[in-house]
């Protein structure tokens, strides 16, 4: 998504998705419900109307068939009484409401009854009439048989129509159900894709950014977010990183201010003592030599008195600059107080340290320092050196201080090594 593109809120986006899903689901449910209604309607119609109607047709066909059989019995009866009984049954069947309710059946039954009644009446006088009217009766009987066949087929066809509608509805319902399943499945896949694309993946990126956030690393970068909330969290993550970087810079600044001497930029006495103690303990732990020294600028009070405190400050800063440029990265130097400086040389024996401080003393003594008045002055330094191995820093400094006192006593601008 382009950075400038408008973002949607998650609640609105998911509400739109949910409403869309609900609408689609409701439409599908309604479509399925319609087919279900068709099936139920057809089944109810089959049960309440069609089946009773089929039974009615069946009964009608059965009664007509009985009427035909009893008509046959009129002709085959062995005597007039049996003929009369058969005719009675014909009349009884022809009087049944199932036949009277159906116009074609009623007409056929009425005609057959009249014909048979006439036949029986005439047969009482002339028995040979039966044989003469037999063919005509066969036509009546055939007409009734055809009607029975028609009614039977009509009754069966009634159910066929309902069953066909039910089958059609079920087939359509099955297709709709299949379509609904595909639709719902597709929608779920789309939902999962959108959730992953716009919610899960951005949250995972934010989680990774937060869990690996460090002031030493660059600010976390995120691809453009589609959702406003995700974008807000990403922005907050970036601000958090920026804040951490600023805090770290401030912390370092404060640490530097707390540990450094404001005039010379060297570490101060408190920080020196802390780190020196740690270095001495490390040297002791690994059996490595550590040397310590105290230096004091010679005749510094006189310099101040002569050229002013500003000149003294320039001398102190020049000394610190030269010292910083001369010592190793691992060596510690601090402004111990006034014009007094302390040195710690890890991994260094007293002899090695002596060589260094002696060289530095000579170098410093030979380096002119220009004052604001344009006058160049040369300042010397007296240094007391002691072995710090196996000692506390206070004791080691005490030894170095004794050596410094000795250097001052022996004429200044010299390095003295503490005994023992």
């Amino acid at each position: 998504m382009p950075e400038h593109a408008p973002r949607r809120t998650a609640s609105r986006a998911f509400a739109v998705l949910a409403i869309t899903f609900l609408v689609i689901f409701a439409i599908v449910a309604a479509l399925l419900g319609f087919e279900q209604y068709r099936v139920l309607s057809a089944a109810e119609r089959l049960q309440a109307e069609t089946v009773p109607e089929m039974i009615r047709y069946q009964r009608l066909a059965r009664n007509l068939e009985q009427l035909r059989q009893e008509g046959e019995r009129v002709f085959s009866a062995p005597n007039p009484e049996a003929r009369r009984q058969a005719l009675f049954v014909v009349m009884l069947v022809a009087s049944h409401p199932s036949i009277l309710d159906q116009p074609r059946a009623a007409e056929a039954a009425r005609t057959a009854e009249d014909f048979l009644a006439e036949t029986v009446r005439r047969a009482a006088l002339d028995p040979d009439i039966l044989a003469r009217r037999q063919d005509e009766w066969r036509q009546h009987a055939q007409r009734i048989s055809l009607l029975v066949d028609d009614l039977t087929v009509q009754g069966v066809n009634l159910a066929t129509a309902d069953l066909a509608e039910m089958t059609d509805a079920m087939r359509v319902a099955r297709l709709k159900l299949l379509g609904a399943l595909v639709l719902v499945g597709g929608f779920l896949v789309l939902m999962m894709f959108l959730l992953r694309q716009y919610l899960i993946a951005p949250l995972q990126r934010i989680d990774h950014a937060l869990s690996t956030m460090d002031v030493e690393r660059p600010a976390p970068g995120f691809p453009p977010a589609g959702l406003a909330e995700i974008h807000a969290v990403e922005e907050a993550t970036r601000r958090l990183h920026a804040s951490q970087v600023a805090n770290e810079a401030a912390r370092r600044e404060l640490e530097m201010l707390a540990n450094r001497d404001g005039l010379t930029g060297l570490i101060n006495r408190r920080h020196f003592l802390t780190r020196a103690e740690a270095e001495i303990q490390r040297g002791e732990r690994y059996g490595r030599p550590v040397a310590i020294a105290l230096g004091d600028l010679d005749a510094f009070k006189a310099l101040n008195d002569t050229y002013g405190h500003g000149a003294g400050d320039i001398v102190l800063r020049s000394f610190a600059t030269l010292l910083s440029e001369s010592v190793r990265q691992s060596d510690l130097v601090c402004r111990y107080g006034g014009e007094e400086f302390a040195f710690l040389f890890p991994e260094t024996s007293v002899e090695q340290a002596h060589a260094f401080v002696e060289r530095f003393r000579q170098n410093f003594a030979a380096t002119p320092i220009r004052l604001p008045t344009g006058i160049d002055v040369k300042v010397t330094i007296s240094i007391g050196l002691a072995d710090a191995s196996g000692r506390s820093v206070e004791v080691a400094l005490q030894h170095a201080d004794f050596a410094l006192y000795e250097a001052k006593r022996l004429g200044r601008n010299r390095v003295e090594i503490a005994a023992g």
């Binding site: 009349m91 009884l92 009087s95």
Partner: protein, 261 residues
């Protein structure tokens, strides 16, 4: 609580058993003598069939029944007075009956037909100048059972068709009226058939076409006292049961050569 529920259930069962326990059933006679003389053939087949169906219904309702044979005209008043629980006419449906009584599900279907002495129909047809039917019948004396649907219809058309109504207590009595008092008897076809299918009734025949409309045919029902819904439901269930397992058509075919439904 459980004991209370059990007590209520027990009371309901006892009440139900009491409701269906003893039933008095009235079966309509076509011939008054049939009950006293088992050998009398007129109308006896239908009565025997009613009897079998009534006993089967009682068995399905697990009820003890007292079956009494009585003239049809006495059944409906007996139901209203509480003398009988179920009236087995059976009775054709009519709105008036449906208002006064509880009617069971249809037990079968029926129609009505004129009965006359042999030759009488031809005489009237000749006099009427065409075929004889209930619509064309004029200037005739017609017998019908008192309180029957046939009598009700006759009363309605008597004036317009110049018909003289001859009342009878039973169908057999209506047939007897044909010996001089009536020209025709209008009867339910099945009952008429049962009365005519004997040697003694050789002189009788159906006259004109059958009629199932105009309140003279249609569904026939058992009659119960209005409001007795529990018994009505039990009777309907019993009718459905004997229909569905084939008992009903077997009983009918045992007594009649035709189906009635």
């Amino acid at each position: 609580m459980a004991m209370l529920r059990a007590l209520v259930l027990l009371l309901a069962l006892v009440a139900g058993a009491a409701a269906a326990g003893e039933l008095r059933i009235a079966i309509g006679l076509a011939e008054p003598a049939a009950d006293d003389d088992p050998a009398a053939p007129a109308g006896s087949r239908l009565v025997a069939m009613y009897d079998d169906i009534a006993r089967e219904l009682c068995r399905r309702m697990t009820a003890t029944c007292t079956i009494e044979r009585t003239p049809v005209a006495a059944i409906l008043p007996g139901i209203e007075q509480g003398t009988y629980d179920i009236g087995f006419g059976p009775f054709l449906y009519s709105p008036e009956r449906a208002r006064r009584f509880a009617l069971s599900d249809p037990i079968w279907r029926s129609s009505s037909r004129l009965v006359a002495h042999r030759g009488k129909a031809e005489v009237f047809a000749a006099r009427l100048g065409g075929s004889l039917s209930l619509d064309t019948l004029r200037d005739a004396r017609v017998a019908a059972v008192a309180g029957s649907a046939q009598q009700t219809w006759l009363v309605g058309v008597a004036a317009a068709q110049r018909l003289t109504l001859v009342p009878a207590r039973t169908a057999a009595e209506a047939v007897t009226r044909l010996d001089g008092e009536a020209d025709f008897a209008l009867l339910p076809t099945t009952i008429a058939y049962d009365l005519m299918a004997t040697d003694a009734a050789r002189h009788l025949e159906f006259a004109g076409p059958p009629e199932s409309g105009r309140g003279l045919g249609g569904t026939a029902h058992l009659v119960l006292r209005a409001g007795n819904n529990a018994l009505l439901s039990a009777v309907d269930n019993a009718i459905a049961a004997i229909r569905s397992d084939g008992t009903f058509p077997r009983i009918v075919r045992q007594h009649l050569p035709v189906w009635l439904d």
